[in-house]
Amino acid sequence: MTDETTVRDSATARAPHARGFRGLSDRMVGWTFIAPSIILLLAINIFPLIWTIRLSLTNYRANRTAAEVKSVGLRNYERILTDPDIWNAMQATAHFVFWTLFLQVLIGFTLAYLINKKFRGNDLWTTIIVLPMMLSPAVVGNFWTFLYQPQIGLFNYFVGFLTGADPSSFSMIGDTALAPWAIVIVDTWMWTPFVMLICLAGLRSIPESIYEAAECDRASKWRQFWTITIPMALPFLMLAVLFRGIENFKMFDLVVQLTGGGPGSITELTSINLKREAFEKWRTGYASAYAVILFVTVFGLASIYVKALNKVKER
C-alpha cells in the first residue's frame, strides 16, 4: 500500500511541471477532466438532495399537482419521529442488518479461511460461490418465493428432508415468525461471497514471515490464529461489515420481491416503508423528510464506524 501512495504522490507532485496545454493552466486542464463528472453528480445527486430537503418542509404531494403547496416547518420530521410504524420499520431493519452481518461474517470468514488453504481447484469453486452476488437481487428474490412455497418449494422440501417436518406445514414468507428469517437467509446466500472475497484479500495480505516467526517461537496454531490471523484480517473484516451494513440498511429490491414487507408489516424495512409513503401513498413531503432522516442515519452511523475503523488500522 505504501508503494502506491508514493507513486500517486510523485504523480501529483511532478505533473504540474509538465508543459501546459495551449495556454490553459494545468489546474484548468485538470478541471476539464473532472468537471463533466462533477456536473452530472451535482445534477443527479446533489440538486435532488437539496430539493428533497426543501420538499421535506412542505405538505407537497406529487400526485396532486393542482393542490396548493404549503410550508409546514418541521412538522413532517416531528410526525416521523413519533410514528410507531416507523420505529417498527427501524426495528425490522435492525434485525435484518444485524443477523445478515453476523451470518455473512461468520460464514464468509470461515470460507475465506478454508479457501486460503489453497487446495486444488480453489479458484474455480470460489467463482461458483461468488455467482449469487453477481445476479439481480429482484429477479433472484422473485424466484426464491417459488423455492419458499409450502409443500412444492425446494427449500421447504429440503428442510423437511433434513428435519422430518412436513414441507407444507410452514410457509417461510407467510408465517410471521419465519418471514424475518426468510429474508436473512436469501441475503446471506447472496452476499456471503462478498464478505468472503474481502476476507480472502485480508488473509492473503498477511506476510508469511510473521507465521514463520511465530512457528519458531512454538506458538500453537490456535494462538497464531488469535494473535496473528484475526488482528491482521480485522481491518478487512470491518470494511466488509461497513459495505454490507450500508447496503443492507438501504435494502429494497430483494425483500420487496420476497415478502413485499409482509406478513402484516413484519419485514417492512425502512426502504420499503419509505417507498409506500412516497410512491403508493404519495405523501411526497412527508416521505422526503423520511428520506432525509434515513440518509442522516446512514451517514452518521457510517462516519462513526469509519472513525473506529481507522483506529483499528492505526494499531
Partner: protein, 441 residues
C-alpha cells in the same frame, strides 16, 4: 377544359381523402390489467381496427402491480397510454389532477347517455365528485365480489347427510355469513376423492388492495360505514362501530379456521388457482373470474355454482364493487382517435359482443334484456350482486387511505397483532390524518 377541371377535382378529392385517412390512422395504446377480459378485449378491438383504420396496441400489467405502475405512469405525466381502463378508485385523483379528459361534452355530442348504463357503475366508474353529473370515464367492465362453490360436492348425498346431522339444515348456498363459516368449517381438511380440501379461499394479499377488498366485502354487511351519512368525513363510530369490529373479527376467524395453508398473501389469481385445482369448496372472488371456471376442465361444465355475498347478522347485504371505466388520458397526443374508440365501444352491438366474449358489459340494453339471466349460469348472480354494491373511497387520496387499510387489516387478520377494535380505531386515526392533510377536516 371541363374534363380537366373534373380531373383536378378528382385528384383533389383523392388527395384529401388520402390526407384525411393518413391523419386519422393512429397507433393507439390501451392500458389495462393483464387478465382474461383483457385478452377478450384484444379480440373485440380487431373490429375497431378494421373499421377505423387505427392500430391498437395494448399494455397489460398484472393485478398486483397494476395500480402501482399505472398511477405512477399517470402521475409522471407519461404518454404511454392513450386509453386507460383504470380502477374505480382512481377516478377522484385522476379527475382532480387532470389525468383524464372530461367526457361530458363528448357524450353529449355523440349522444351517449349515462342513463343507459347500470346506475352503480356510472357512480362507481365515471363520476367525480360522486353523484354529480361529471363524467371522466365510460363504464367498461362491471365487476363485483361474489362467491363460487363446488356444486358437485354440495350435491353428494353422504356429505349432505353428514352436514344435516351436524348443523340441522341442508347443505346449500349460505344465506348469512355465519352459515358460510359453518360450510367452510365443514369442508376444512376434509378428504374428498383422496385429496385434502379446505373450506374457503379469501383475499389476504398485502401489497396492493387484496385484503381490503376481501375484508370490506364482509364488513359492509356487518354494519361498517365509511362515514357518517349526515356529515362527510366523520368516521368515529362508523368505521369502528360495533358491527364493523364484529365483521373484522369474523374475517379473521374465517381466515384462521377455514383457509388452505399458506394463504397469507392471496388475491384474485391465488383464488382462481385454489378453486380450479379443487383445493377449496368456497371461493371469494370478483365476477370476472367466473367465465374462466365455466370452461375449466376441472371445475367447469356445471360443477361450479355462484352466489351473491351473504347477509350480515342484521340482514344487511352488500358487496364490494370492482370493475373499471375506460378513460382518455389527457397527456396523450391522440385524444381524438382515443375518443373514437370509446364511441365505438359504447355501441350496443359491440357491448353485446363484449358480454358474449366474457366481458361484463355495463350497458342496460345488454344486462336487462330478457335473455340475459339465462345466457350464462352466473348472469343472474352478477345482476343481483351489482344491485348491492359499495365501493372503497374514491378520493384523490385513495391510495393513502388504501395503504393504511391494507396495513391495519393485514396486521390484525394475518399477522395476528392486536384486536379488531384496535385495528379499526387505528384506521380512524390514519384516515382522519389523511383527510386533515387534504384540508377536508
Amino acid at each position: 377544359m371541363h374534363s380537366r377541371h373534373l380531373l383536378t377535382a378528382g385528384a383533389c378529392a383523392l388527395l384529401m381523402s388520402g390526407l384525411a385517412s393518413q391523419a386519422k390512422a393512429e397507433d393507439l395504446t390501451l392500458c389495462w390489467a393483464s387478465w382474461d377480459p383483457a385478452n377478450a378485449l384484444v379480440e373485440l378491438s380487431k373490429d375497431f381496427e378494421a373499421q377505423s383504420g387505427h392500430n391498437m396496441s395494448f399494455e397489460f400489467v398484472p393485478w398486483p402491480n397494476f395500480a402501482d405502475r399505472m398511477l405512477n405512469e399517470l402521475n409522471s405525466g407519461g404518454k404511454l397510454c392513450d386509453l386507460m381502463i383504470g380502477d374505480s378508485q382512481w377516478i377522484g385523483g385522476s379527475a382532480e389532477n387532470g389525468h383524464y379528459v372530461k367526457l361530458n361534452d363528448f357524450f353529449d355530442a355523440e349522444g351517449i347517455k349515462m342513463d343507459d348504463f347500470i346506475d352503480a357503475t356510472v357512480t362507481g366508474y365515471s363520476e367525480w365528485p360522486k353523484n354529480s353529473p361529471n363524467y371522466w370515464a365510460l363504464p367498461a367492465f362491471g365487476d363485483v365480489v361474489g362467491w363460487t362453490y363446488r356444486k358437485d360436492w354440495f350435491e353428494r348425498p353422504e356429505l349432505r347427510a353428514e352436514f344435516k346431522e351436524k348443523y340441522g339444515r341442508d347443505l346449500g348456498v349460505p344465506e348469512t355469513f355465519a352459515e358460510l363459516k359453518d360450510i367452510a368449517e365443514f369442508f376444512q381438511e376434509r378428504e374428498i376423492d383422496g385429496k385434502t380440501v379446505y373450506g374457503a379461499s379469501i383475499y389476504t394479499e398485502r401489497g396492493s388492495e387484496g385484503i381490503t377488498m376481501g375484508a370490506m366485502d364482509v364488513l359492509y354487511s356487518f354494519g361498517f360505514l365509511y362515514e357518517n351519512p349526515d356529515q362527510p368525513y366523520d368516521m368515529e363510530g362508523f368505521v369502528n362501530s360495533e358491527g364493523a369490529v364484529a365483521g373484522l373479527e369474523y374475517y379473521k376467524e374465517l381466515y384462521d379456521c377455514c383457509t388452505p395453508p399458506g394463504s397469507s398473501n392471496g388475491y384474485m389469481s391465488e383464488g382462481i388457482d385454489a378453486f380450479k385445482s379443487g383445493q377449496v369448496a368456497l371461493q371469494m372472488n370478483f365476477a370476472f373470474t367466473w367465465p374462466g371456471f365455466e370452461s375449466d376442465a376441472n371445475v367447469g361444465h356445471g360443477k361450479t355454482g355462484y352466489f351473491v355475498n351473504p347477509k350480515g347478522p342484521n340482514g344487511d347485504q352488500f358487496a364490494q364493487l370492482g370493475g373499471q371505466g375506460i378513460s382518455v388520458v389527457s397527456y396523450s397526443d391522440k385524444k381524438d382517435a382515443a375518443l373514437e374508440y370509446i364511441k365505438w365501444f359504447a355501441q350496443p352491438e359491440v357491448q353485446a359482443k363484449w358480454w358474449e366474449m366474457g366481458g361484463f358489459s355495463c350497458l342496460k340494453a345488454v344486462t336487462l334484456s330478457p335473455e340475459f339471466p339465462e345466457s350464462q349460469p352466473y348472469a343472474q348472480t352478477f345482476l343481483d350482486s351489482m344491485a348491492v354494491v359499495k365501493d372503497f373511497w374514491a378520493e384523490p387520496s385513495y391510495a393513502t387511505l388504501l395503504q393504511d387499510t391494507q396495513r391495519r387489516f393485514h396486521d390484525y387478520v394475518v399477522a395476528g397483532n392486536g384486536t379488531a377494535q384496535e385495528a379499526l380505531d387505528g384506521l380512524v386515526r390514519d384516515w382522519t390524518e389523511t383527510f386533515e392533510d387534504d384540508g377536508k377536516l
